[in-house]
């Protein structure tokens, strides 16, 4: 990895006079880069400045200014704050921006998403197809002037609900009586489908005929999913096989695309909180945190001590629960059908009991508020947490360790398979346990501490092999580190208020942009929020680790066996709600 050579006082506009200007809009930071110079600036940032990890790429539609913007956020894996830079393009079709895939391959899927949802063409992208909707879908739905079939108003609360209180079913308002729209004059009988899968298959076809040793062999195309017991939900992979060996692979997603981002831009700021629960539905507590962090940055509100401690406790419990379930599910994928998962679910239930006690709901906690928490710990809960943390969980983690770590079958299936080098892992924007298993000690709790993580003593767990076994070991040890943090947090938990100011339904958020990111159990979870001073966010983007970690899926699988694909997908740890959003 490159080491940064300069200090933070980086003046890009002096380095690239004319091509880069500081973003001077109130509340904004970073740089505005001219499209033509983008690749040059990006290469400079990566190679000279050490911003080797492209965290997130996303689009923003500034309809009133007739501009489309692409926002890049890059970080150093050695830690510290990141750099934001943006490319603006006039909002005239076709909108073209050069692709940064040659510099950061991790931008691959994200640029496809921007093409799909915003209609920005990335020139030089190797495989620019729609990703979340399907080929043939009409329009680019995240554009501000694209209205969904059940469109009612630009911003909530909708007047029909409040103050009027005269609600009409969405089906009654829509001329088609359903959640669909068709252009005027559309005739389903005359309409001929151009196969939505065609582009996908042609992108794979170049591999199909091959001659080796003078014998022409046929490669087989296999579709796995979206209904497949191993895909952890409705994920699909199209694989080209030579015998049992994977020659090429493409992930296909969008089967759970509900577009929480479009809904999020109509919601008020607070209304988005329960929606974040439904992203990575195993870890609603940490999802809440990332979003709260972004909005708190915009509002400039501080969080009381007690709330900070409870946040840490909940997030770490959630991490343990996630890693336990992951272990159980991965063993499912390896063929140890359901018994290990039962062990994991037993502990998970106990952790969920705590979530239910504090938040009122087992899975969808909706517990964080801007500047604090929804409610304090009810009586007796702290004792339960202590029981779990000091007694039960530590023993259970050891039990998993004892049963699994040296298990012959587990080792044989995991060791040395799907190796990912640290260079590749960084280039593909991997984060979380997969990145640390490759030997990069990058954990946001340490690299850019949020909340009060700078007060705790814990190790950033790494392994060096980068294979599946390393990913297992990292997660196992991370549970122990989480317990370590929990013990310190419980010991330090002070009395006091749990929210700054009075709880409010409607918060005032000054105009500007903010990026809040946390170390979620699956990787870097970030929320990019833009406010224009109104009650609703102008842009609300989720940087989903499940989604971006899949960029390297092909790289990890090619050359391996098809049976290992199932396990590899398991070791990445994806969850569909977050992947498709």
């Amino acid at each position: 990895m490159a080491t940064p050579t300069l200090t933070e006082t980086l003046d890009l506009s002096a380095k690239f006079p004319g091509a880069v200007t500081a973003d001077a809009r109130p509340g904004y930071t970073g740089w505005i880069v001219e499209a033509g110079k983008l690749l040059e600036v990006a290469a400079f940032l990566r190679d000279e400045m050490g911003y080797d990890l492209l965290s997130s790429v996303t689009g923003v539609d500034y309809l009133p200014d007739e501009k489309m913007e692409v926002v890049y956020q890059a970080y150093k894996t050695t830690g510290g704050p990141g750099i934001f830079f943006k490319v603006q393009a006039p909002r005239l079709d076709p909108i073209e921006v050069p692709s940064v895939v040659p510099i950061w391959p991790g931008a691959d899927l994200q640029e496809r998403e921007i093409w799909d949802l915003y209609g920005v063409k990335f020139t030089g992208h190797p495989d620019l197809r729609r990703i979340l909707t399907w080929e043939g879908f009409s329009g680019h739905p995240m554009r501000k002037d694209w209205k969904e079939a059940f469109y009612e108003e630009d911003a909530k609360p909708f007047k029909s609900r409040w103050p009027e209180g005269r609600i009409k079913m969405a089906e009654e308002r829509n001329p088609f009586g359903d959640n669909v729209t068709f252009d005027e004059g559309f005739d389903p009988e005359k309409w001929t489908s151009n196969d939505p899968e065609e582009a996908l298959y042609t992108s794979l076809k170049k591999y199909t005929a091959e001659t080796s040793d003078g014998i022409k062999t046929d490669h087989i195309l296999v579709n796995m999913g979206p209904q497949h017991p191993s895909t952890h939900g409705v994920f699909r992979a199209v694989v080209i096989l030579d015998g049992e060996t994977v020659v090429s692979l493409k992930p296909v997603m969008g089967y759970l695309h509900r577009n929480h981002e479009k809904i999020g831009e109509r919601n008020t700021f607070l209304q988005n909180m329960p929606y974040t629960d439904r992203l990575d539905y195993f870890n609603s507590m940490s999802n809440n945190w990332g979003y709260a962090l972004a909005v708190e940055k915009l509002m400039g509100v501080a969080v009381p001590e007690r709330a900070e401690y409870i946040r840490v406790i909940m997030a770490e419990l959630s991490r343990i629960q996630n890693h336990l379930i992951w272990t159980g599910m991965m063993l499912n994928d390896l063929g140890a059908y359901f018994t290990p998962a039962l062990y994991a679910f037993e502990e998970r239930e106990l952790i969920l009991d705590i979530f239910e006690a504090v938040a009122g709901s087992r899975m969808m906690c909706n517990y964080f508020r801007f500047g604090g928490l929804a409610r304090d710990l009810p009586e007796g809960t702290l004792e339960k947490i202590k029981d779990l943390v000091f007694d039960r969980l530590a023993a259970k983690v050891d039990e998993f360790d004892r049963l699994l770590t040296e298990n012959e079958i587990l080792v044989a299936r995991l060791k040395g398979i799907s190796k990912l080098s640290p260079e590749d892992a960084v280039a593909y924007s991997m984060t979380g346990p997969v990145l640390r298993a490759a030997g990069v000690p990058y954990d946001i709790r340490r690299a850019e501490p949020y909340g009060i993580y700078d007060r705790f003593d814990f190790d950033v767990v790494t392994q060096t092999d980068g294979d599946m076994y390393a990913r297992y070991l990292v997660r196992l040890e991370e549970m122990r580190q989480s317990l370590r943090i929990l013990r310190q947090a419980i010991a330090g938990l002070p009395e006091g208020p749990i929210i700054t100011g009075k709880p409010q339904y409607q918060v005032r958020v000054p105009a500007g942009e903010a990026y809040g990111r946390i170390e979620a159990p699956k990787g870097e979870l970030g929320y990019y929020v833009i406010s224009n001073g109104k009650p609703n966010p102008w842009r609300y983007h989720v940087r989903a680790p499940s989604f971006i970690n899949l960029t390297a899926l092909e790289k990890m699988c090619v050359g391996g066996k098809i049976a290992d694909f199932v396990a590899i997908l398991g070791t990445i740890d994806i969850v569909l709600g977050e992947l498709d959003r």
């Binding site: 399907w134 209904q227 759970l256 577009n259 998962a341 679910f345 037993e346």
Partner: protein
Amino acid sequence: MSNEELNSPGYEIPPELQGQVAVTTFDRIYNWGRRSSVWPMMFGLACCAIEMIAAQASRYDMARFGMEVMRPSPRQSDLLLVSGTVTKKMVPVIVRLYNQMPEPKYVVAMGACASGGGPFKEGYNVVAGIDKFLPVDVYIPGCPPTPQALVAGMIKLQEKIDKQSIKQVRWYDRKNKADSVYVPVPVLGPDLIDLRRVDELKELAAPKQAEEISEA
């Protein structure tokens, strides 16, 4: 099953034979067999699926109802548990899976999303409830329904099975072909096209018609 449950009233069985003989109706024994071994398809859609798995796990243990055997193949399952948000991209697959299931088959809509769109109803890629395409037997409210709620829904399904008669259920009904168990698979066009509504859609999308609606 105890003798009282199984025996149809009206036939006197001598006490000494009660251990060996039971007189019952065909419907009753048939339903008893089916309701005690409802095999769900192993198929999770979204958040609700996690609670479905939790209901299978030790604390709630659906095995008590004979429902622990999750089948990955539709050909071997009796129950399509729609556990989560149904999206437009996914619904052709779900309908195809339903068509591939052998009768008798049941559909349970688990959670707000599967029942009516739920919190994501306004989303452009969301189908507002699986009942827009498939006949639903039991709706389970909640977001997500707790495992207890799911178990309660399953007991409701068992009650429904208990009341059915082999002579009347629609999949053996020869006369009434209109209520077919086969649902045409929707197509992904510029938007989701429901093939059962082709004529209607054509009419609604026709330019003249569109004006009338906006005036009304």
